[in-house]
């Protein structure tokens, strides 16, 4: 087995239990919190990805493939004509079950007892039996699989836990963005996203550290939470260039960075960009990421954090751009503080929101030097965009797409693809209209995809009963010039 296939300290892993996915960073003696249980992943270090584990006390214990495929098929009834509607078929009460648990009974044993005490189990068809067993096992067994994070898992995780944070991006739509954008190693990508770095991560994976990515970011710092999950070599980040959305005016040829914001002092401009840079050392120094921000933070968590955060930063930040949007600010704050504050990686959503994440703001003494670096960075990106035509424009963000699209479109070389995602069709139709009039694109399409999963089982094959109502919409096309 190759050394890349085993779980190592410091890596981000996904724990999959039933349908639920959780992202954690693996450290010896770091407690992980899953489904109300706390335990250590120490046993898993050095073991292969894809392994299945049971929680025993505070530790985890590898499940052998034989144990895993323990799919009982028992003697079943032929149909459900004898089964009446009542809740009395289960003789075990909730109290009984609690008692079993408190006695330290293993989950598998509890499930077995439930079956024995069900009067209707034997009369159920084998299919109903299997369904029943699965339901009870998911409830009472503390069994999970450790997986290497990839785009599919991350996208599923975000979509399940906080769809709006991920602007509802669905797996098939994300797949289409990457393909329609012709993402490949070595090209120049211009992109803007507000899906916590998921799209950025997916793009970076397909570029493998070669080429250029100009990331337009809406808040004071680019949000790259999901990027960390990929465990990329640190060199990948060398291809990344951040540029703030509110400095797009600065890209106009005649503007210089100093005269750009006449009504704001230069220092204010720099302040606004500060957070952007606070992350940079981490990216460029290539040091290992020692903290893990958790994308599953609950709303209550988020509020707690952003409130505290805002108070501390009030003086530093003079513009109110992220006010009244604690959600996004939360992301910022998190990105901001990455590398500065060690946070518990296992902060949980919902009930578990009282884990007391402590954080303090570090006042930076090299303020002036950083301002200078920031100005230089802006100039670098401006020169890049003016000297090197971009190979693709990718957008998936929570803003009205048209103004951003029109601002960035001009930096594309001719005969290059562009892709704009939106959860709603109407804003894309605006872009479509603009494109048809601007005359610089062909093969323009607005599409939506139906993703349908099937249950394929003997005698029980059918499309899944529940399905996503929409995966959002994509505008795609190819630039042309009207040079003859």
């Amino acid at each position: 087995m190759a050394s890349t296939d085993v779980i190592k300290q410091g890596q981000n892993v996904i724990l999959k239990k039933g349908k639920s996915l959780r992202l954690y960073q693996v450290w010896r003696k770091r407690r992980v919190h899953l489904d109300k249980k706390h335990f250590f992943l120490d046993e898993a270090i050095g073991k292969p990805y894809g392994t299945t584990w049971d929680v025993h006390g505070q530790n985890v214990c590898l499940v052998t493939p034989d144990e895993e495929r323990d799919e009982d098929v028992r003697e079943g009834g032929t149909d459900n004509r004898g089964i009446n509607d009542d809740t009395r078929s289960q003789k075990l009460s909730d109290e009984d079950i609690k008692a079993l648990k408190s006695k330290g009974q293993h989950g598998a044993a509890i499930v077995e007892q439930l079956v024995e005490n069900s009067t209707s189990f034997k009369e159920k068809t084998v299919y109903s039996q299997a369904k029943y067993l699965k339901k009870k096992r998911d409830k009472h067994l503390m069994r999970f699989q450790i997986l290497r994070p990839n785009t599919i898992l991350l996208c599923e995780m975000y979509l399940m836990r906080a769809p709006s944070k991920n602007i509802h991006l669905r797996i098939d739509t994300l797949a289409q963005i990457l393909t329609a954008a012709n993402i490949q190693s070595g090209i120049n990508v211009m992109m803007m996203e507000t899906c916590q770095g998921l799209l950025l991560g997916a793009i970076m994976e397909r570029m493998a550290g070669k080429g250029t990515v100009v990331q337009i970011h809406s808040e004071s710092a680019p949000v790259r939470l999901a990027v960390e999950a990929y465990n990329f070599p640190s060199s990948y980040k060398d291809t990344l260039h951040a540029f703030p959305l509110d400095q797009l005016g600065f890209l106009e040829p005649k503007e210089s960075v100093e005269s750009n914001n006449p009504e704001q002092s230069t220092s204010e401009v720099s302040d606004r960009l500060q957070a952007c840079k606070t992350e940079e050392p981490q990216a460029t120094n290539g040091k290992s990421v020692e903290s893990k921000d958790c994308p599953q933070c609950s709303e209550s968590d988020a509020k707690e954090r952003s409130v505290g955060h805002r108070t501390q930063k009030e003086e530093e930040r003079s513009n109110g751009e992220e006010e009244n949007d604690s959600n996004v600010e939360d992301c910022d704050a998190a990105a901001d503080d990455a590398g500065m504050v060690a946070m518990e990686a296992d902060c949980q959503s919902g009930e578990g929101g009282t884990q007391g994440q402590k954080r303090k703001f570090q006042v930076n003494p090299e303020k002036e030097a950083r301002k200078q670096r920031r100005r230089e960075s802006l100039c670098r990106v401006r020169d890049l965009l003016h000297n090197t035509k971009m190979d693709v424009l990718v957008m998936a963000c929570r803003f009205q797409p048209l103004p951003i699209f029109t601002a960035l479109f001009k930096f594309l070389a001719p005969s290059r693809p562009f892709v704009v995602y939106c959860h709603y069709i109407e804003p894309l139709m605006e872009c479509n209209e603009w494109l048809r009039n601007c005359n610089n694109a062909v093969n323009i399409r607005v599409t939506e995809t139906w993703l349908r999963e099937y249950q394929v089982l003997p005698e029980r094959t059918h499309p899944n009963v529940n399905m996503s109502g929409t995966g959002g919409y994509l505008l795609t096309g190819t630039t042309v010039s009207n040079e003859t």
């Binding site: 509607d85 709006s164 709603y424 109407e426 349908r452 003997p458 059918h462 529940n466």
Partner: protein
Amino acid sequence: MGFLGYSDVICDGDKAIVYLGYNSMMSLKLSHGTVTQTKRGALRHSDIIGKKYGCRLSTLSDKGYVHLLQPTPELWTLNLPHRTQILYFADISLITLQLELKPGSVVVESGTGSGSVSHAFARTIAPNGHLHTFEFHEQRAVKAREDFKDHGISHLVTVAHRDVLEHGFGIDFTVDAVFLDLPCPWRAVSHAKKILKTSGGKICSFSPCIEQVQRTCEELGSLGFSDISTFECLQRNYEHRTVILPYPNLGTKTVSRDDSKQASPNPDDSSSLQDTGIPGTSTEARQGDGATDIASGTTTPEAGKPLDRQGETDREESDRNEGGSQAKRPKLCEGAPQDNKKGNSLNYPTKCAVPWKDMPGHTGFLTFATLYILPGGS
């Protein structure tokens, strides 16, 4: 009672549909002296009896109000007690049309199940048709018979407790159409052939799994049915939502939007045109429910909304998303993040037709066929 025709006044013994708010209804059998609890407060039946259908009624403690609706087969389908998995509106509609049901049709159904299809059939074949419905589960047959009596359609429906797969339909006349909703429909096809008119009798079989469809189609073909076709019919709901996508701040010198008709005021000179956003259009904190349905945007503040709005926007008991957790309601990123301070960003509300987050991915396959046993030769 609207199961057949309509009547204006609510009577003792009627079954009424209590409309509690968006996606939230319940059925109520009215009886003097009874009080029923709802999530909007208690309802005294005596207050209801004598009122007109469609009226609004405040609950006892004046906590809220409800509307009282006449039960149509379609409303009943949404409110009946589930004794089995039931068929819904889209499938029932297509079945009714494909079976060519109309007043006077004689139709057979098996199994009766919860009676969702039976009510729709009875409505369509009234006043002079008949539905023979068969159910192998005795308890269900009894309950269905009670429902039909309660709903004033028992003269149109005969319920039989019978295992059709084993014993056939046991009737000695022919019928216009047969509807099968059985675990092994292919085993009922030959029985159905015996009772179907041979001059264009229609059959429909509903099955959740493709294997059932495959066997049924094979059996239909080998028994001489023609025009065998299989469909799926899925309904997608749209809501009217006024979405506020933030207008991006591109810096002082915004890039001109040449061809766009929408005005593009400079975000920085911001005479706080819309700096407080538009009340009543926020979409935040609704995503958790999945099937969000915010009443369409008006510029009236929420407080000034007509009373009914309250009901329409209440999503607490969304029946579309039973699995959805109520506890976690992540904030919607695109929902109205209004920049009050300095007003340096403008948000344009966009009226959007947004599909519900979840939709039925599958109900079942509908297989239709026609029986013509025709004389040969010319």
